[in-house]
């Protein structure tokens, strides 16, 4: 198995007095897709933000290609090749779609490459090409999400951190997005860390999965194994969901709590 490019060790992150991540360790190996599952408020977003440097951990280390990057300014981390596609469509609302995409390639110099990437993004999301001179703030929710993903792709990263990329996308597009991610992983050997509520799609794509609850990692294993786990099936894949109405207040206790 390949060497871990990203090693997270005992990370603790706080929002003021609130501890959002309580000692998380995980590894991301070159060319692998790692998926993180977890309920609301488990700390998935916080973990991603800590890796990309927009939050500083109070304890622990993050090693990327043998170098400690925790606490660095976010832009230096991007320069090292980690790109974070955040949750909630953080686009530049008053700039056009095209300008947004150009900024995605801010760290790159090669003009021809940038244009090729732009065309690639347009081919993934034709609607963006159609709207390339529209201000990003006036795009529909899903269009903004496409733009956020497209913009992340423009950066040609070594590792992509994807925080709920399928949020607000139509079922058709969700399939397409996962198709694109799979191709990126398989053809370009792109390493990814993926947070998704659509757990089945995520685990299908991923090589390895982690489950987070209240700031901790409570379970991890190869994606295929996780998919077999009863807890995962119940809580993330919704297998038992055909239950009748009377079932709803009765919730099976998660075994790891």
């Amino acid at each position: 198995m390949s060497e871990a490019v990203l090693k997270i060790r005992n990370i603790e992150s706080f929002y003021g007095p609130i501890m959002a991540i309580r000692g998380v360790s995980l590894d991301v190996r070159q060319g692998q897709v790692v998926s993180i599952l977890g309920a609301n408020g488990a700390g998935k977003t916080t973990l991603m933000k800590t890796v990309s440097g927009v939050m500083d951990p109070e304890k622990g280390t993050i090693e990327f290609e043998g170098e400690q990057i925790q606490g660095m300014e976010p832009h230096t981390i991007v320069n090292r090749g980690i790109v974070h596609i955040p949750e909630g469509r953080e686009v530049f609302p008053l700039l056009t779609v095209n300008e947004n995409l150009s900024l995605g390639a801010y760290t790159l110099k090669d003009k021809a490459q940038i244009e090729r990437d732009r065309e690639l993004v347009f081919s993934y999301f034709p609607i963006l090409k159609e709207r390339r001179n529209q201000e990003a703030g006036t795009l529909s929710g899903g269009q903004q999400q496409m733009l956020a993903i497209g913009r992340g792709l423009m950066a040609n990263p070594r590792i992509m951190l994807l925080d709920e990329p399928s949020l607000g996308l139509s079922p058709l597009l969700v399939q397409e997005i996962f198709g694109i991610l799979r191709r990126l992983n398989e053809e370009q050997n792109m390493t990814m860390m993926l947070v998704e509520q659509n757990a089945s799609a995520a685990l299908e794509l991923a090589h390895h999965g982690y489950v987070m609850e209240v700031g901790r990692i409570v379970m991890d294993g190869p994606a295929s194994e996780l998919m077999e786990s009863e807890d995962i099936q119940n809580f993330y894949l919704g297998v038992q969901e055909e239950g009748v109405r009377e079932n709803r207040r009765w919730k099976r206790k998660k075994t790891w709590r």
Partner: protein
Amino acid sequence: MRIVFKTDYMQDIRPWKDGFQLSLYMLLLALAVVAPFLLDTFYIGELTNVLIWAIAGLGLMVLTGHTGQASLGHAAFLAFGCYANIILIEQGIPFLIAFPVAGILTGIVGAVIAIPALRLHGVYLAIFTLALSILTDDLIVLSEPLTGGVAGKYAPPVGVFGLQIDRWGTPDLFYWLTLAVVVLVTLGYINLLRTPLGRSFIAVRDSEVSAQAMGVDIARTKTVSFGVSCMVTGWAGALMGLYAVAFNNETFSVVISIQLLMMIVIGGLGSIHGAFFGAVVIGFLPQFLSISKEYVGAVFGGGSVAIPGLEFGIFGMILILFILFEPMGIYGRWLKIRTYFELFPFYRKDMFKRQKSYLKTERLR
């Protein structure tokens, strides 16, 4: 660590958390009431000054802190309240009627001015009100028959329940008068915040779209907020006029508008405490610096002007430090200190270390 158990909705609705907190505030009030017996004339004068600024701060806080409408023109409303009060008194109307009416008139004027200002946001509103403040100076001169123009007006002693109150003659009485206004305004403010109107202010501040979706009429809410804010500011102006005794068009300058805004930001936007904390800083810090030059004569050059303007310079630097230290205002810091004690002994060293934070554009409305 104090934990409050809640058993009744009133516990959340009433303004204090528990008996302990209530007794603290009562103690503070009691101290304020007996202050004239503890302090000399000078400090009573300064305390009065701070309280008057606090009233003005409360007025601006309604608009800027709670409704999110930045105003750099509140000196205009101070002026209006001041002149209205004195003109009414000169017409033979007793102070106890003239004073409230002066505030209400100011409030009405404020609400009327709000109408063209309704569509303005942020800097645009700030500069709109700033222009109003600048124009007030000229309006006072132009309406000379009413205002006495550049010669200004004098505040006579005012009669309250048979007592003649005047700033210099009876500083203690004047202090109590001011304190009474402060207490009443603060109580009204507290009530406002726990009822629908106050919440609609906050709603408008945080998100105009969703406020509308919840049935809050933006235009009306802003107008009312302007009205309430200006009314309180008008009262502060009336007291300021009585405090200054003599005033003219130059008294309520733009600088005062700017200082008012500084005051509530440094105190802590969006909190009643903030108005008071800010008033102490803006109202008393310069005086404190002036007093301290007696003790650090070497730096200030004793009574001479070794370094002219040093007090204002230091004042500016201290304000900078205040903001750098606590951008959320003194009230923000106060909350942290309180949390610290409430969590005692479960605090961490880095608990209040500032996390990286990021801004988004405010150009989207």
